[in-house]
Each structure stands twice: as C-alpha cells, then as structure tokens.
Symmetry: C2
C-alpha cells in the first residue's frame, strides 16, 4: 500500500483526495477553489479530449472559440438562465493596476473602471447566441454544429479536486437547427456520444436518461444526462445534453428565412462534459494501492522496470528491452522503460502502482537467462512469469482484457446497485445502502424536493425508453405512470 494513502473503507472522501494529489493528477492552488492539473492528470484529460474530439468531428461538428468574458447584461436576456447561472461568478470590474503610492506593490486603478462589468463565462450560451445572430440568415446557414474547448468559472463555495472547482476545463457544444425535430435528434445523438465514450474509453457504464424539471439546465426544455455509479454507492452526473427549444433564439432574436420563405426562430441544443470526468474515472476503478486507469486512457500502458546490480547487468537487460520497446510501440502500445538509476525497483513498483499503469514488466538477470519476464496486472494485482516469445501479442490481448474486465466489474456493481423499492420505509433503508433506487414518483417538484430534504436523494434520471407501469408515489402515494431512478449524488 502506498505510504500516505487513506484506505477507502476508512474514509472514501479522504482516500479520493489523497489519491488525486499523490498520484500526480491535480493539486490545490494558491487561488481559492482553483486547481493545478498536473502532468499525469493532464495527460489523461488529453486522451479523453482527443477521443471526444474525434467523436464530435465524426458527427459533423467543428471547433471554434468564443470570448472568455460576457457582458453582465447578457445574462438577463434569458429569464431562466440568469437564475441558474449569473449569481456565483467572477466579476471583472477594472482593467488596470497601478503602483501603490505607499510603495506596497500594485493596487487597482480606480480610474480604470469598466462601464459594464464583464463576467468570466460560467457557460457560453449567451455570448454564442449573440454571435449566431450575425451568422444565420437563411436555412442554408443551418445547421450550425459548433463545439468549444474552454475554461469556465463558477464561484463554488465548497470545492473538491476535479469534482467541483471554481475554474474547470470542459467542452461545450452549441448547435442551431431549422427544426425542432432536428434539434431533439442532435441532443439525443450527443447523449449517446457521451455514453459511448464513457463506456468504451473510461470503462464506466452509465445510465442514460432525462432529468426531472427540477434538475434541468437553466434555460433548457429537456436535459439528457448520463449517470454513473461511484464505488461508494453515490451517483455522479457525467455529462449532459440539452434541448433548448427556441429559448435562446428568442432571447437573442436569432431568426432565419426558411425554404418556404417564412422567417422563423432557430432551434438549439447545448451539451458538455468537463474535467469532472477525471473524478469519475478515479472513483470508478481505483483502489487502496492507487489509481487504476483503463488501458485506452492510460498515458503509459506498460512500464518496463529493470532489476539489476551495477551497470553491466543494466546493459545486458537494456540490450533485450530495447527491441522489445520497439516492437511494443509498433503494435501501438504506449510503453516506457524506466531505467533511472536514481530510484530503486521497489520505489518504482510503488510509483507505477500509485499512478495506475495497467501493466508492469520486470526484467532481471535470471529472466534473461530463462528468456522470460515477470508481468504484473495493475487491476488485479496479480503477477505471472511469461516467456519472451509471443509477448507482444500477449500484451495486446492483456490490455484489452483489462479494459473489458474493468468495464464488466463496474457494470456488475451498477446493475447490482439498482433496487426496486415500493414503500417509503424501504426507500429510506435502501438509500442509505447506496446505489440507484427505482421507484414511483408523483411527478411534482414539491415531492422531489421533500424527498431530497428527508434523504439527500435526488432523481438522477428518468431512463430513456422507460417502461410505463402504473404505481403510486413512494412518498405521497399519488398515482405515477413510471419508475424513476433516485440516488445520492456527487
């Protein structure tokens, strides 16, 4: 076990924080609520970005970039949006500093006050729709399928690395369509892009559904979401896709002349995932020894560690390892040979366990004699000796096995966690046990609010293609046409 890592049983939340810092993913900064994403964490985020970006482009989207600052008045233009977003945010009021006349560094130059304050974007609907107004005249200008990779700021009071930070990195898609139908299809498509990404790349099974009105994005008609289960039984919203109707088009007066010659308001979607996914990844697979990273996202998939005494043994090992490295790379594997003399093998073993490298290969002088290596799997913590012959193919297979095993284990946890509950006392017990609860609900915001106050549980989603089934609300006993999924969430 790594030296200073709290165990999950002892304190899951402390384990998470210890791990994120010690594994080199991120760290708190001197600026309240803002994190530093360290190289190992950023490399995983880059792998996520690259794959998501490919999926966005394959579905016809282009990237663009919009200003960091949004004039304060823009937020008031869409009524629901301002309630949801324009409150806790960073406000730029001045544009100059000057030398302190008392010689104590610099102070704000009060003469350089902005006429209208600028808000550091918490999300970009307003500035983007203000721009789209100039881009859209005719049906021929539609659809607009744009994504932006950016930093955003929401002034959070209680922050946790990756899960909730004042500044975070994300992507936000903003699309404009000629018809309602097309916009809904886009919002649903992006939900599945997110869902497929989470499952294929992060080995993280998700529930796909829509949000109850209470949990909808501020300004949306419908919010689609993917929800994942963390190891501690809490749910985590991992991505959302919103059908915005014509709300923003009307607020910013974005119209187009349709084929029929009529002037109409445009239909919109927006969708996003953020560095929060890093937190979801950590809490899906990792253990008391450190990170477990699915091979598809691991910056280093295999690390090779020489076990040697003196430069001659290292030389002999290197002679065997170098061609092995070349072959592994040719097979598309990201591999590293850690031949640093400044650290001992035991230290290196711990280090790569902590950092979640999926496979470790150790090679010592006896292995050379026997033409074999020692293979350790990070996910199972098992070791076995393998002949060098055929090693490359075996490694390719093992990486896919690990990816699959991680997904399967997480899928079992998720499926096993979902319990059907039909009475309030059962609900209260079940929610304490963690996981998702499938229960009837009377469809009102009041009941949802009351359940939240009593148990901290919220409706995570109403599953897509939800079976219709008559029942009575778990709390009020009022009639209900379908079950919804409750959980306590991050």
């Amino acid at each position: 076990m790594a030296k200073h890592l709290t165990s999950r049983d002892k304190d899951y939340s402390q384990w998470y924080n210890d791990l994120v810092v010690q594994a080199g993913l991120a760290d708190s900064s001197a600026v309240r609520g803002c994190m530093v994403i360290k190289p190992h964490g950023y490399a995983i985020w880059e792998a996520m970005q690259a794959d998501l970006d490919r999926r966005f482009k394959e579905t016809g989207h282009e990237n663009a970039y919009f200003p960091l600052f949004i004039p304060k008045s823009y937020f008031s233009k869409e009524a629901a949006h301002v309630e949801g977003f324009a409150k806790e945010c960073a406000v730029v009021t001045h544009y100059r500093l000057k030398n302190d006349p008392n010689g104590k560094g610099v102070i704000v130059d009060e003469s350089a006050k902005l006429e209208e304050e600028l808000i550091v974007r918490p999300t970009s609907e307003t500035i983007i729709w203000d721009t789209y107004k100039n881009w859209i005249q005719s049906y021929r200008d539609l659809p607009i399928l744009i994504n932006q990779w950016a930093n955003v700021v929401r002034w959070e009071m209680r922050t946790r690395l990756f899960l909730r930070t004042t500044e975070f990195l994300w992507q936000e898609g903003h699309t404009a369509h000629a018809t309602e139908q097309e916009a809904i299809a886009e919002a649903e498509q992006m939900l599945h892009v997110y869902g497929d990404f989470a499952e294929d790349m992060m080995a993280m099974p998700v529930l796909r559904g829509i949000k109850s009105p209470n949990e909808r994005f501020a300004g949306a008609i419908e919010t689609y979401c993917i929800e994942a289960l963390m190891q501690d039984g809490k749910a985590l919203q991992a991505g959302t896709s919103h059908f915005l109707g014509q709300n923003f088009a009307k607020a910013f007066d974005v119209t187009f002349q349709d084929k029929d010659g009529k002037v109409k308001h445009v239909w919109a979607t927006s969708w996003g995932v953020s560095t929060r996914l890093m937190g979801a990844l950590v809490m899906s697979h990792s253990d008391d020894q450190g990170l477990v990273i699915p091979p598809k996202l691991a910056p280093t998939q295999i690390v090779i560690i020489p076990i040697y005494r003196g430069p001659e043994q290292l030389e002999a090992i290197s002679l065997v390892v170098e061609p092995l490295l070349a072959e592994l790379r040719a097979a598309g594997i990201r591999v590293k040979f850690d031949n640093r003399d400044t650290y001992k093998p035991g230290w290196k073993f711990n280090e790569y366990e902590l950092k979640g490298v999926p496979i470790r290969i150790a090679v010592g002088p006896r292995d050379l004699e026997n033409k074999q290596v020692e293979i350790a799997r990070r996910d199972t913590l098992t070791k076995e000796t393998m002949p060098m012959e055929g090693l490359i193919d075996r490694m390719v297979e093992m990486l896919s096995e690990i990816q699959k095993d991680l997904f399967d284990a997480a899928k079992r946890r998720l499926d096993d966690s979902i319990v059907k509950v039909d009475s309030w006392p059962e609900f209260e017990v079940a929610i304490k046990a963690g996981g998702f609860i499938s229960a009837h609900w009377d469809g009102t915001a009041e009941t949802e609010e009351l359940i939240k106050r009593k148990t901290k549980a919220t409706i995570r989603c109403i599953p897509l293609n939800n079976p219709q089934e008559n029942g009575s609300c778990i709390l009020t006993g009022e009639p209900s046409p379908e079950r919804v999924l409750f959980a306590i969430a991050y």
Copy 2:
C-alpha cells in the same frame, strides 16, 4: 476577385481585416478587443497546435494546466515582471451578482468583494513558480519541462484580429533546471522548435536571434526570438523563448538540494507562441483573391467541385468522384467533395479561393468522357487539365510543390528585403521602403529609443552567430562590434 475584399495595394491593413472576417477566420465580438475564432480559423489553429504539441513532446515536455486567476500580490514579487505585465489587465474584484432591486436585470453584489483582487493571467510565470516551489526539493525533481495551452488576457487599447487582441490563445512553456547551462540550452532549443515549425509548417522563413535589452521580456536575462517578414515590408515577432536566469526562483524562493548536498536556486526558461501566428500566416502568403494556406496547415487540402446540370449528371460525376475521394484519403490527403445543390459552381470557386484551399478539382460531364479533370492551384491561380490516371500521385506531389513554392517565394522576399546600410540618410530612406535593415548600433537603450522615435523602427533581433565586424553606430557614430537588424514591426 472576392466581392468585398479591399486590394493589398489600396490598403494593406483593410485588406487584412476584410480577409480575416470574410474568409471565416475570426470576427470581432461584442466584448471590446475580444475576438471570436470561427471554425475555419480554429481548424488552422488546431493544425498548428497539433504540430507544435508533437514537437514539444518529442523534446521531452509534458502539458499541465494552471489557474486562470493570479492573486494581485504575486505580480509584485518579481520587480521587472510587474513593470511589464501587471498594468493593463483584467481585474476580478467580486464573486457574486444579485437581482437589481429596481428590477433591471442583475447588479454586482457589493457584499461579495474579494479580500485580494484576482488578475486574469496575462502570462503565468508567477503562479507557476509559486507552484514549482512545492514540486522541487532535490536535483532528482529536475528538470521540470512543462507546457500549458491556455487563454490569456492583456488589456490592449488598440486591437486587431489575431495580431493584438485582449484575450488570445497561446502556449507557454515553463521549465526549471539545475544549471544555467541547461536552461540556456533549453531556451535555444525552443527557439529552434519555433523556427523549424514556422518554416516547415507555415512556409514562413524566419530570422532567429536575440532581443536587445529594450525589447526583452519583463523578467528575462535573455530573450530569443523568431522574426518574420510580412508582405507589406513590416516585421512580425512570431515567437519568443526566454532564459530567465534565477529571477523567478529567487522571487518565489524555489531551491533544490543538488548532488553535492548544497541548496541552490533553480534556473528557468519560458517560451510561447500565440494565435498571433494566424495573422502572420495570413500576411505571409495571401493575395487579393483571398487566403493562401500552405498545404500542411490547410484543413481542406483539395476540394472537388462537380459541374453539372440535373441530378443525373451529378450522379454520374459522383460515381467517379467517390472512389477518387477514397484514394486521396488513403494517400493522407484531406479532401472534400462539395456536392451541395444549394450553391452554384461559380460561387463555390470563389468561396474556396477566398478560404485558401490549395487545390481545386473541377469535374464536369465532358471530363468524364475524356477521363480527365481540371486542376486549379490556389497559390499561382493557374489551371490545367489532367488525366484521371495517375492523379493521386500527382496530387501528392503538387501539394508538396505548393508548400515548397510558398516557402521559396517568402524566403526570396525575406532575403531580398535585408539591406546593409551605413549612414543615417540611407537608413531613413531604407526604413520607408520596408524590410529588414542591417546596421551598426552603439549598444545603448537611448540610441535605440531615439531611432524608434525618429523612424518607428526597432531592433528586431541580433542574429544568432552574428558575424563580428567593427563599425560605427548608424545614428551616433559611436563604435559598434556588430550589425543588428532593424525594421518597423507589427
């Protein structure tokens, strides 16, 4: 000629603005000095990023991410740095808005005032060195080779799309080393990474050198730079790499225990290029018809346009074009078949000329009969008919030819522009003609300042490996050991 494009002869500056907007690269936004980077512009920037990022990683660097906000007091810690940077910047003073009691949208909540103001980063040396303090204890923690892709804000009074904007995108490398020698080698290496990128990818020849003390980065011991020549004879600083000595390590108290057991201050570099390169690219190659983009950076390298009447002709053309597309893609070419029925061929020809697609292929019914196509080169505006047979190989060749021809033409312009001048009257004439002037200078900041006031010319760089040659300063006649390069710059 594109409809609304001012010609270069008439007004170079207006031509540039027209082109950037009309070709879909960028546009002004509702926020003063901040631009919207449109999809076509962002796609070129992404191509630049991808190639630079590869070069950074190949030279051992990793990416990371540091906070957008920097506490005001940090800027005062490095004396020279505060003078250069902490003045014109965006200042965050509050973290909450509230509903206007008069019902007019939202207003700043005065009760949510920050104890210490936060500055939106104009550059990240201070926050990064404050972080490195925690990362560096021993020589084994060095070197730290980190790069960040980020947005930065400098409150500019006069802005121009890409060339000078309040917010811009860039990368900033920040490295920490055990020795002075190693840090200098790093700063020089990155200068060449930038120079090679500019020449290989942008087809933009550059002069490589060091800045005079006047033009140095605020806080640097030595600033290395690449300087390019724009078509109008002005110089443009395209990238800088700074040897920072121990200035930031001392300001933020970053020390390490060396192999010899002694505690020492760390040595530093920083280096960056920005979306300014987009402006440099436009002004290096484009013409009165629109953009000319070097094939290596062109999001679309070849566009195929069908010339047809009615769906049957389009069908026949498509049958031939589809396999062609597949073959071109297999050859690694980014190709697009624009078979939209909503626009006529003439409109499309103009559009792709404006957007700078290097090669246009037109295919009509007669071409099908003759098993040929019409090829138009964007850079030379020449057209020729070519047999379909062998077309793929010919296209691969032509793309490299275009890349090379663009570089060669720009190189000739650069070389021809450099004139040696030995008297002040000659200097005054030469500087008006544009280009670089190689002249003697007495080495003082005062003279440099005076020359700038008289002619607007600045010392762009002192070339690397500059030949030593005794002479007298162009203005003062004082002795000088070497020529330096002057120009009027963007």
